[in-house]
């Protein structure tokens, strides 16, 4: 009994010591001068301070755009809000979507102000799937689009298969472009390499699927073969390469384009199933009416232009 009490006391003392060290450590490490900073259109910066700043004259603050860190933007006024946050007024306009740098001279502090990474990536996904939909706005992938969109179940199957292969091939292509082709100045090989990756992946997925799950292979196998001649599967790595995208942007573009293609296929299949039952002029039967339907969808998707939920 006494031994247990002694053990408990020892554990308690140990915990207390650790807690004290932690608190001491936290107190010893200084809180950042600038806790948080946000750009507010059109002319303002909202700054939350972690430590007090004595000098509130505009000269103590420096705001620059990330693209031009040597050109200081003029700070015209600094006021303190009732909640303790600083309110800076700038002579030039700013936008919450751009990347800036905020500096305080005394005490010395630097803070990068940019939109949250997740917001950026989400906007890439939205752009690729809705605003700049690859089928309706960039007219890519039409080859396969018209063949597969005749029925709903084939559309869904193709959409899923395509997105999976799209993401895998885009990331692999990105990796090879960034770590092999670019540093070795072999960028002119990109077309050859990207299409090679696609062909290789399609074969790989086909073989693996056949071994793993015969049922799934029977269902999706036919779509795999069609993917190789889908323009989108080559366009996405090319776009990533020309924009020098980072890994997350490349992933976001791949996911967005796959999702956009799947949406387009599904919508089109619903419309075409209806069109099969309608009375269509003889010359328009088959592909021409499908093109006209696609035109109507493209018109509708134009409504997404300029969509920006993060303004």
């Amino acid at each position: 009994m006494a031994r247990r009490m002694r053990a408990r006391a020892a554990a308690g003392a140990l915990a207390a010591a650790v807690a004290a060290l932690w608190a001491g450590g936290a107190a010893a490490a200084a809180a950042p001068v600038i806790e948080n900073a946000r750009m507010l259109a059109p002319h303002h910066v909202l700054v939350q301070l972690g430590q007090p700043v004595a000098d509130l004259s505009p000269g103590n603050f420096r705001v620059t755009e990330a693209l031009a860190p040597d050109v200081a933007m003029e700070v015209t006024e600094v006021t303190v809000r009732p909640d303790g946050k600083l309110w800076l007024t700038l002579a030039q306009t700013v936008s919450p979507q751009n990347h800036y740098r905020l500096e305080i001279h005394r005490p010395r502090a630097v803070r990068e102000v940019k939109p949250a990474a997740w917001a950026l990536l989400l906007s890439v996904v939205l752009s690729a799937s809705l605003i700049n939909n690859f089928v309706f706005t960039r007219y890519l992938g039409l080859c396969v689009f018209f063949g597969v969109s005749k029925r709903q179940d084939t559309s869904i199957g193709m959409g899923i298969t395509f997105t999976v292969v799209m993401v895998a091939s885009a990331m692999l292509s990105w990796a090879i472009y960034t770590y092999v082709l670019s540093p070795l100045d072999l960028r002119f090989l990109q077309v050859l390499v990207f299409i090679g990756i696609v062909a290789f992946l399609v074969q790989l997925v086909d073989t693996v699927l056949k071994k793993l799950n015969r049922l799934l292979h029977q269902k999706f196998g036919i779509y795999l073969m069609l993917i190789t001649t889908n323009c989108i599967i080559l366009a996405v790595p090319l776009l990533n390469a020309s924009a020098n995208a980072g890994p997350w942007e490349a992933l976001a573009l791949a996911v967005g384009s796959g999702a956009g293609f799947a949406i387009a296929l599904f919508l089109m299949s619903c419309a075409r199933e209806k069109a099969e039952l309608a009375r269509v002029p003889k010359s328009f039967e088959g592909l021409p009416i499908a093109f006209a339907l696609t035109g109507l969808f493209a018109l509708a998707f134009m409504g997404f232009a300029g969509l920006n939920p993060f303004r």
Binding site: F136, T137, R138, Y139, L140, G141, L142, C143, V144, F146, G147, V148, K150, F188, L189, V191, L192, I195, G196, A199, L226, T228, T229, N230, C231, I233, L234, A235, L238, L239, P281, K282, S283, F284, E285, G286, L287, P288, I289, A290, F291, A292, T294, G295, L296, A298, L299, M302
Partner: protein, 221 residues
């Protein structure tokens, strides 16, 4: 290591091949292959012309290359080898265009690189170039390429005239009648109308026999 053992009938003559590619088996209007560029690039006649010429060159070069080496391509890997050959020629054309025609290349750059994914070229290689000797293959490639060029130029003229009031940059109308036709939606409608028109012509010429327009079922590839 030999190609198909089934004996092929002798290939049709050059003139017949050319006309076939332009009309009867026109890649865009009849076979409905490689539609991406047909909508994307045909906003003006010049754009359609440049890409059409690029595809023509790639088609002829690829067909000729495959016809030259067709006996040494192992049948199991013929698709990857075709893809490699096409990719090489596409990259070359891409570089040549970028170097010697930069202004025009700026408009169609991405689509030139995408030629490697056009089913028209690889299907031609599979169906014709791998089985026929050099000279008929050359004319078949030329015919298909000319047919594609013809289709792109026609669609481009239609859209540029109705959407911009001009042809190849020369203004014919004092204003822009229907800007809609230059937009992607208008591109789809233009092709719908032109395809239906070609179907109509085809039906009238073949005496009203209800032949399904090529690609009415599945325009895959």
């Amino acid at each position: 290591m030999s190609t198909a053992a089934v004996p092929r009938p002798p290939a049709p003559g050059a003139g017949r091949l050319l006309l076939n590619g332009i009309f009867a088996e026109n890649p865009v209007f009849r076979l409905a292959l490689s539609l991406c560029p047909a909508v994307a690039v045909t906003t003006t006649v010049m754009n359609g012309l440049i890409l059409g010429v690029a595809v023509l060159v790639v088609q002829v070069l690829s067909s000729v290359s495959v016809a030259l080496v067709r006996r040494s391509i192992h049948p199991r890997v013929r698709i990857p080898v075709y893809t490699i050959i096409i990719a090489v020629w596409v990259s070359c054309i891409d570089m040549v265009l970028a170097a010697f025609f930069p202004a025009l290349y700026a408009q169609v750059g991405l689509y030139v690189k995408l030629i490697v994914a056009f089913a028209i070229i690889i299907s031609r290689l599979e169906l014709f170039a791998s089985k026929q000797p050099l000279v008929p293959t050359f004319f078949d490639g030329l015919g298909m390429g000319l047919g594609f060029l013809f289709a792109l130029v026609v669609i481009g003229a239609f859209r540029e005239l109705l959407g911009g009031g001009a042809i190849a940059g020369h203004a014919l109308l004092p204003h822009k009648p229907l800007l809609f036709f230059i937009l992607p939606a208008g591109g789809f409608f233009s092709i719908a109308l032109l395809m239906a028109f070609f179907n109509l012509v085809e039906r009238r010429l073949s005496g009203g026999a209800a032949r399904r327009p090529g690609g009415g079922g599945g325009a895959h590839g």
